[in-house]
Structures are given as structure tokens and as C-alpha cells.
């Protein structure tokens, strides 16, 4: 029983900072501190007129969408290979692909910065960020897609090929529908991670910042903090929505594949 209290207290600890967001987003004062002074929606309307923010959001959404598509494609390849085929050095190769999960992000950021700027002498753009985000999102995609691919019966695809489907046709008409929920779930997670990622984007963004980089700039100016709170409220609501959809789809995918839910993304 006391364990239960502890677990609930822990959840409150986890949610405490996020719970403060809407409080200050609607608070009628430029200083982010208690006591509260009054109710306002001004900070939200300021978001609509801020064109620099709109550009930053546009960049971030583009980056996040490309990252979601590319890392899920790579994740499908890896999860399929991991579930179906045995090949030499399998554990080593899979471990290497999953390495960005534990690698400090600053290492990924500086090493790519050195390669892009110093070695190839290319400019930084949204595509350099996409390249790095795909690298760090692929392990998460693989972790989600593994669940979808693991208990897939290879004989079903073989049966389709025996009945005259091509290799790709068998994949498209048999395997793909079974793993579709997993794919969408993986895309949503990769989208959320990329949209929120700051450490790498700060090193690799070109002239036009992404949304977290723009927020980082705002954090230095006390006057713009309430607007950041309003933006944060919208972002948290949006990512909770996306993650909830991802979770529902992940569970549906597991149910379709006939696997008991062991819970969790990882």
C-alpha cells in the first residue's frame, strides 16, 4: 500500500513542471512566479502574430516529417532483418545501429558538425538536422517495429509467394497490413522526438532556426517568457495527443499480430 503511495507521489513529481505550464500561460503577468495575478489569453494571441516563430515552426515540422518517414523506413528494414533472417555478426550490427540510444547527443552533434562543415565544407541546412535526427530516431523506430515484426509468421509471406505473388507483392499484401499500426506509431514517435530535439539542432541548424532553437533564444529575454509558456502549453497538448494515438495504434498492432502486450515503447 505504501508502495502505491510512493508510485503516485512519483508520478506527481514527474508531472509537476508540466502542470505549471498552463497556469502561467493564462496568468496575467510578465513575471513567471507566484502569486498569480489574473486570467488572460493575450500570450496565445501573441503567438499568432509572431512571424519568426511561424518560420521556426515550419522548419521544425518539415524536419520532423522527413525524420519520421526516413527513420521509419530504416526501422522497417532493420526490424524485418532482425526478426526474420539470421546473418553473420547480427548482434554486433544491431548493437551498432542501436548505439545512438546511449550515445550522448552532443557527441553526435559535434561529430556531424565536423564532417559537414570542416571536411566536406558544406553549408548547414534543415537537411543536416534531418540526417542527424534520422540517426537518433531510428533506434526508437526499431524498438517499436520489433514488437510488430517479431511474432510475424514468415510462412505467411512464403505462402503468398508460393501462390504467385512477387517478393514485394507478398510483403505489400500480407506483411504490411499486419505491421501498419506499428509503422504509424513509429512515425508519430520519431516526429515527436525530432520536433522537440534541441541539443543537436542547436549545433547543426543553418541560418533559419528550428522551433526549440528559437525557444532557446527566447528563454534569455524575461519579457518573452509568458509567450514561451503559451507555446509550451500547445506543444505539450499536441505531443500528448500524438503519443496517445501512437500508443493506441501500437496496442492495436500487437493485438493484430496476436501478441500479449508487455507494455511500453522500449
Amino acid at each position: 500500500m505504501s508502495l502505491r503511495f510512493y508510485a503516485i507521489a512519483y508520478l506527481i513529481f514527474l508531472y509537476a513542471p508540466i502542470a505549471l505550464l498552463p497556469i502561467f500561460a493564462f496568468n496575467d503577468a510578465t513575471i513567471i512566479a507566484f502569486p498569480l495575478s489574473g486570467f488572460t489569453t493575450n500570450w496565445f494571441s501573441e503567438l499568432w502574430t509572431n512571424t519568426a516563430l511561424h518560420t521556426a515552426v515550419g522548419n521544425s515540422v518539415f524536419i520532423a516529417m522527413m525524420t519520421a518517414i526516413l527513420s521509419t523506413l530504416l526501422g522497417i528494414c532493420a526490424a524485418r532483418a532482425g526478426a526474420m533472417a539470421n546473418f553473420p555478426m547480427k548482434a554486433g550490427i544491431m548493437g551498432f545501429i542501436m548505439l545512438p540510444l546511449v550515445l550522448p547527443e552532443i557527441i553526435v552533434a559535434v561529430s556531424l558538425l565536423v564532417v559537414v562543415v570542416q571536411i566536406f565544407d558544406l553549408g548547414l541546412s534543415n537537411w543536416t538536422i534531418i540526417a542527424a535526427h534520422v540517426l537518433i530516431c531510428t533506434p526508437f523506430s526499431i524498438a517499436i517495429l520489433n514488437g510488430a515484426f517479431q511474432n510475424l509468421d514468415p510462412s505467411m509471406e512464403e505462402a503468398a509467394m508460393d501462390l504467385g505473388e512477387t517478393r514485394f507483392g507478398a510483403f505489400r499484401s500480407v506483411t504490411l497490413p499486419l505491421v501498419m499500426p506499428g509503422i504509424i506509431s513509429s512515425m508519430l514517435i520519431a516526429f515527436t522526438i525530432s520536433l522537440d530535439e534541441f541539443i543537436i539542432a542547436f549545433f547543426l541548424s543553418g541560418v533559419s532556426p528550428t522551433m526549440p532553437v528559437y525557444i532557446w533564444g527566447l528563454l534569455r529575454f524575461p519579457a518573452s517568457l509568458p509567450v514561451v509558456m503559451a507555446l509550451g502549453t500547445i506543444l505539450v497538448a499536441l505531443s500528448i495527443l500524438l503519443l496517445t494515438i501512437a500508443e493506441i495504434l501500437r496496442r492495436r498492432g500487437l493485438a493484430r499480430a496476436g501478441v500479449a502486450d508487455k507494455g511500453g515503447f522500449l
Binding site: 514527474l14 528494414c77 532493420a78 551498432f96 550515445l103 550522448p104 561529430s111 565536423v114 540517426l135 507494455g263
Partner: protein, 275 residues
């Protein structure tokens, strides 16, 4: 099928890591990079006390964060695995992971609001009369960095421990109790050793990435709470000395990997000694 993701990781991970290693042996000569092989960067890191101080502080912070996160996370993972009904488990895990995916920067900033001079904790404690002056040891120092990072990495610690606990065969626990162990001893002699792989994974997955975070020390650390990652960032972006930054990154990675390796080996020996 494996080749596209493998090639991608090779091209964007192995190759850049090799490049940064090579770079650390070069030097910055105003606007150009001098490509003669030299150990100057490493010599500078070894002789200038600032780098040693930052590295030590970083390792201390990472170790504290790891200890706090894993100790706080274990009972939660235990509760979810042993006391929550199976069909409710994924809901709990979902609730635990949600804060982890949302607005990292803003979450860190909000800790400033909680811990600050006029923050939630200080006004709260003053209002109920526990303290008269605001507490100052919880913002703009190493403590604040540790609290904030421990919060950010909490779900990372819970998941691997939960997975390890889920794998434990429940009949082993019954057997231990049938053989006369009490519940506390059953936990220490059966559950904990079997959960150790999860604890080790949790330690690694928290300890290694925390060394690379520069957002939290920048926002929460004040002047005395800067870490090695801040220095790496400064060398690359402000001072335009990529080779020295590269050498710092390599040294930081080596230290973290060495400590992680020692931890894994010690744990393996401890587990073997018990069986």
C-alpha cells in the same frame, strides 16, 4: 534488408566518430586547421586545471544523477511489475513515459520556476511557516543541475528495470518463501540479483547520456555549475576551436566509457560471487 540502416549508421555515425578522433590530433590555426599530427590538444587538457575541474564535476553530477534516478525509479518499477494488474501495466508505463517526450527545454526552464527565489517551493515553505528566508541552495548550483537531470532521465531508468523484473519467474519467490525466507530476505537474495541486469542497463542509459547535456547546466547551474558539455559547446561554437572541442569530447567519452565498463565488470563479478 539490414544493409540500409547499417550503411546509414556507418556513414553518419562511424565515419563522423572517426573524423572527430582524427580532428582531435590536429590544431586550429586562426581560420584554418593545421593538419600536422600532434598531441597538443590533449596536453592542454591535461595541464590546464579548468578542464580537469569541469570533467570531475561532470562525472560527479552524472554519478549523482544516476544514483538518484535509479534509487527513486526502482520502487516504481517494482510496484508496476509486481502490484499492478497486468491489463493496467501499459497504462502506467504510458503515464511514466509521457513527460519524457515533451518540450525538454521548457521542462528544464520550469524547474527554475519551481526552485527559484520566488519559486513554488520557496513561497510554499514560507507560506506554511517552515522557513523565513527563501532557500538559496537549490538554484544556480550543482544541486539544481542534479535535481533537474534526475527528473529528465527518470523514465529512462524505470523501463529497463521494469523489463528485468517482468522476466522474473514468480514461482522462484514462492519457493524462497516456502523454504523459510522472509519477504525482505527473499527480495535481497532472489528478486534483486535477478533484477540486476535491468539495474545495470538503467545505470548505463542514464550515466552515459547525462555527460553530454549542456542545456540543464546552462539554465540551472549558474556560474559554478557549468559542466564539460558547456565547454565542448563553447569551443565549437563560440571560440571556433573545433580540434580542442573534439579532443574534449573524446576525453569525456573515454572517461564515461571506462567508468561504465568498470561498473559492468564489478557487477558481473558480484553476481558470480553470489551464485
Amino acid at each position: 534488408m539490414i544493409s540500409p540502416p547499417f550503411l546509414y549508421a556507418l556513414l553518419l555515425l562511424a565515419f563522423p566518430l572517426a573524423a572527430i578522433l582524427l580532428f582531435s590530433f590536429w590544431t586550429q590555426d586562426f581560420m584554418t586547421v593545421d593538419t600536422t599530427f600532434t598531441l597538443d590538444n590533449y596536453r592542454e587538457i591535461a595541464t590546464q586545471p579548468i578542464y580537469g575541474t569541469l570533467l570531475q564535476r561532470s562525472l560527479y553530477v552524472s554519478a549523482c544523477v544516476t544514483l538518484v534516478t535509479v534509487l527513486l525509479a526502482f520502487p516504481v518499477a517494482y510496484y508496476v511489475s509486481f502490484h499492478v494488474r497486468p491489463e493496467r501495466k501499459s497504462l502506467w508505463l504510458f503515464l511514466i513515459t509521457i513527460p519524457f517526450w515533451t518540450s525538454y527545454l521548457i521542462r528544464v526552464f520550469l524547474w527554475k520556476v519551481i526552485l527559484g527565489f520566488n519559486g513554488v517551493i520557496n513561497t510554499g515553505l514560507i507560506n506554511i511557516g517552515l522557513i523565513e528566508e527563501p532557500l538559496t541552495f537549490i538554484l544556480y548550483n550543482v544541486n539544481a543541475v542534479i535535481i533537474t537531470l534526475a527528473h529528465a532521465f527518470a523514465p529512462f531508468a524505470i523501463l529497463p528495470i521494469f523489463v528485468a523484473l517482468e522476466k522474473i519467474d514468480r514461482s522462484l519467490l514462492e519457493a524462497a518463501q516456502d523454504l523459510g525466507e522472509n519477504r525482505v530476505m527473499t527480495f535481497f537474495r532472489v528478486t534483486l540479483p535477478l533484477a540486476m541486469p535491468g539495474v545495470v542497463a538503467a545505470v548505463l542509459i542514464v550515466f552515459i547520456p547525462t555527460i553530454g547535456d549542456y542545456v540543464t547546466p546552462e539554465l540551472m547551474g549558474g556560474a559554478g555549475g557549468k559542466l564539460i558539455a558547456n565547454m565542448i559547446q563553447t569551443q565549437f561554437l563560440a571560440l571556433n576551436n573545433a580540434p580542442l572541442g573534439a579532443a574534449l569530447a573524446i576525453v569525456a567519452m573515454l572517461c564515461v566509457s571506462a567508468i561504465a565498463l568498470v561498473f559492468v565488470l564489478l557487477n558481473r563479478r558480484w553476481l558470480r560471487g553470489r551464485s
